[in-house]
Symmetry: D2
Subunit: 330 residues, 4 copies
């Protein structure tokens, strides 16, 4: 039995804590959130105790912490957790600042602890099946990757203002997909962005629609298109063209009902947002974390992955703001 604590009792904290509490051999011992009401509610729901940050890091029985708090607290918590010798699960991004993220990575390495970053998409049943089939050589050598990543609607403007911008906040996942699928280092990146859905986003200095091209050292090409608003819901697809064919990852629908009426033949919209679409992914991700801690599996999304995705987000931001192609360092 391993005792764990969670920092952050918001939406994503609830998901991860819930999955942890259901994991065999895991006990959710402590919950911390500066919002006491949220902390109490989550602790009560899962039979845990509310605790302070100091109590958590000072409790030797706590072997692992799950960092699900605001982005600007991630780095400090990682550093403290590493110093305390705790195993770490941390939501993406590591930090909005690459230098700080690298410092975290160094601290984690020095402490010799596990630090898994929450790129849950790698654990999605469709995405992970595609990746596994790629590995069998089913479509030969990958040559191009096309990623479509669209949210059903934009977050509130205050959130956007503190988000680090669309490339760090939203495309961080897509940059990780790029690295995971093409398994090659980026050579150049070009990013465009526009504000097409809400002038408030432009006023906040951000874009809501982006188009990114990455060329890898091996010459492979990746295009990513994103929007903060797809009227039909959450659109999460990618396709890989290989020398021997193509693999496509499509959206999931809640049901398999098909209606034929006088107007059209129609199906369900995709599952509406990340809580629905990635429900299975979040569960599989947490299983992986505990399997890593038990020694049964090798860590698949490291803090180095978090740093690399952030470097791409940084470069994309620069490309867009400065209107130029950015060359990546190896």
């Amino acid at each position: 039995m391993i005792d764990v604590a969670v920092f952050g009792a918001g939406r994503i904290g609830n998901i991860h804590a819930g999955n942890a509490a259901k994991s065999p051999g895991v006990r959710l011992a402590h919950v911390f959130d500066p919002n006491t009401q949220a902390a109490n509610a989550l602790a009560a729901k899962l039979g845990a105790q509310v605790a302070s940050v100091e109590q958590i890091f000072g409790d030797d029985k706590i072997k692992a912490v799950m960092i699900c708090s605001y982005t600007d607290t991630h780095a400090d918590l990682i550093l403290a957790a590493a110093a305390a010798g705790k195993q770490i699960f941390c939501e993406k991004p590591v930090d909005l600042d690459v230098a700080r993220a690298r410092a975290c990575a160094a601290a984690v390495e020095k402490a010799g602890v596990t630090c898994m970053i929450g790129f849950q998409r790698r654990f999605d049943p469709t995405f992970s099946a595609l990746k596994a089939r790629l590995a069998t050589g089913e479509i030969g050598t990958p040559e191009m990757l096309i990623v479509t990543s669209r949210d059903p609607g934009a977050p509130p403007i205050p959130y956007i203002k503190s988000s680090g911008g669309i490339f760090k906040d939203m495309l961080i996942h897509d940059f990780d997909i790029f690295r995971w699928i093409l398994e090659d280092d980026p050579e150049t990146i070009h990013a465009s962005a526009s504000c097409l859905t809400d002038p408030g986003i432009a006023e906040a200095g951000d874009g809501d629609s982006t188009a990114v091209t990455i060329q890898t050292k091996k010459g492979r090409l990746c295009q990513i298109n994103t929007s903060r608003r797809a009227a039909y819901g959450y659109d999460q697809r990618f396709e890989v063209l290989g020398s021997g064919g193509m693999l496509q990852a499509g959206n999931h629908a809640p049901t398999e009902v098909v209606a034929s009426t006088t107007r059209a033949v129609s199906r369900d919209l995709p599952e509406h947002f990340f809580l629905e679409r990635y429900r299975a992914a979040y569960a599989a991700e947490m299983s992986h974390f505990f399997a890593v801690l038990s020694g049964a599996e090798q860590l698949r999304t490291t803090i180095a992955d978090g740093v690399k995705a952030l470097e791409l987000a940084d470069a994309a931001t620069t490309s867009w703001r400065e209107g130029r192609i950015v060359r990546m360092n190896a």
Copy 2:
């Protein structure tokens, strides 16, 4: 908190007991199975106690029982549970004999207890969404129902011999779908069967492939086709033609990966068998049972439904064996 006991620690007992144990406000107190090893394993897994039939019925704290044992024990357990004033969940079929099933229904009614029959398909996300859309009038008045119901492979011959035949064992679900979807009483039924996949099934006096037509009192038509062996897996579809259109319930696939190679564009096979396909349905079914016990919902699959499906299975068997159309009594 309500205490429940389960009879039967086999495959389906494990599913139902597991779902019950996860239900808020429910405590799985006792497990019974003549196979002590299976009973112990299930009890250990879910933190319950092994108990005898007598202990279960004699324990006043046990408010509800789940009958997941062999078919030939269902009727006795229903009668005993009704006599003991327990709320009942019973796997289909009530019994292979219509008269006994009716006797159980009468006992349940007299005792004033709930008796839910496990027609889990009604709780499948796709099937229940279709039913709900039918109720909105999206396709007008239903006129025809086509049911395709095919297993990936036949059960062992000894099982088939004691199963009551394909119409009672396999089509019992499809007859319930017919009643649930068309909401009309059968006027006539015609059933054909052949043995096409394994001569051993014919030697056991049964068929493995069937074609059934039911005409309702309102003239609506239903066709059911079934096979014990679909090489591509578990095929569970139906479609309803209405005056204003059609609704189709399709198979569920494990992932949404599409592969385009030099040979074809291909997708996943359907989820392989009932444990995968109806996982969500089993969970929703058990939620419904406890929601009924708490008074939050009205019972949706009663013992009367179990009797009616059995009557159709009986009539189909007669139609096939005697080579004639059978007229149903109201």
Copy 3:
């Protein structure tokens, strides 16, 4: 160059004459229709001459005739054409009366002429590809056939009254599909019908919705469901379950546009009626006819096929009217 004449300048006459006129090595010489205006229009459109029945049969240069006139003229025209030594293409059905159809078949055989019956569905790209794949053994031995055949709307009541009934008028095609796909003789047939879409059809003594089951001598099962009215258009599908898998023939859509809106993900309705859906089939059918005449191909839809489909339609009508299962003679 082969000279041909067409009887009937209606909708189907226009299609066949147009396809003949476009065939290399074929000259559409004559057109006959009791409706002079229709005959003139068709002749003018295709550069042919209007002629009388006698002129056509008396003209030695005319080697082949296409019978596209009303059903009640088919048999007389076949007999006269056979007597005159003309090669024959005749629209289905041969006749509404099986005895007369058999007499026509005998006359054709005696005359040694070709008589192709217009079961154009066999020439549909999707249906013929499915048949070819069946022949390769892709799904092993066929066991079950499910045919869905629905019109977008019923013909006028006067047409229905003289149509011979829904089994001869509409299901004649489906009976031919049954014979073509399963390649086995029917042992028994059971047919139900209801009138659900228009009471006028019931008053005309016919049904608009049918459910048919055929069991073959080898025990294979076929179910056919039809309706005179599918609100979403022309629905022409069938599926074959074999020992090694399933082949399905789906509807054709006019375009491959997919729309995702706030309500649903939708596609085009199927092509609306037989003129659109079977356009390619009609062209391929006529190519086959002339390829047979030139000796390049073996006739694939003979008058014997026309008789056999009619026998099934007759038996289905009897089954429905007399409420009994009909046993077919070999």
Copy 4:
């Protein structure tokens, strides 16, 4: 009746001449090709006469010419045809040199003749239906366009060497799709290319895989991805994200057969190459040309469209070769 002549009796000349010859009110009078054998064959097939360039331009009865010859002859033939007052249909591209293309456009304007450029994709049933639905506002204001354009295999290296490069040879169509769908002027263009399928293409100084991003003056975003080799065939898709939803244009398949076997559920590959996929588009395009000549329709793909697509191809080539974002002049 209008008399027309065709320059070029190759693959595309055969298609256009054949469609012209079938058009009501059109007579294919003359065929020219420096390859006499090809000219003779096409003329014989369609009942036309072989003629020299001078004869065609000197023949007053010839009202229109179709330029289907090698790209390097297009400009001279357009200039000569305009000077001779002929109506013009010309295959894309106008020329590989933008300045020459502009000179052609000026000559056409001065002569007051029609000059239609063969962007047949605009006439594809799926693409044109999507465009029409866009115009109805079905998905609101277009924001993003994603174009996937992949050939089944690369042309021979000698062809590639004289093709003007992949952006002028292959993406010229995609640039036209961009202009046609988004109806906005390009502000910037960024193009990457790699050689991933055949080193011979790199040796010829070209790429076989490209990734293009265009940002319009209104901030709309377009991404185009292309490959010279898709193992699964000819892949021609695009999707438009609008403020109210998405419209996608998918591939066409030869049949609607679906196979379910022990391995997968599979469908046909897309129609294999442009002759199959765009058969209907080529016919509709030629109908439009003659409808324009008769005054019934307004010209939809002008020489100005040809020039604009070429400007984009030029800019894309520069972007790739110089590794920079290119700003377009209005």
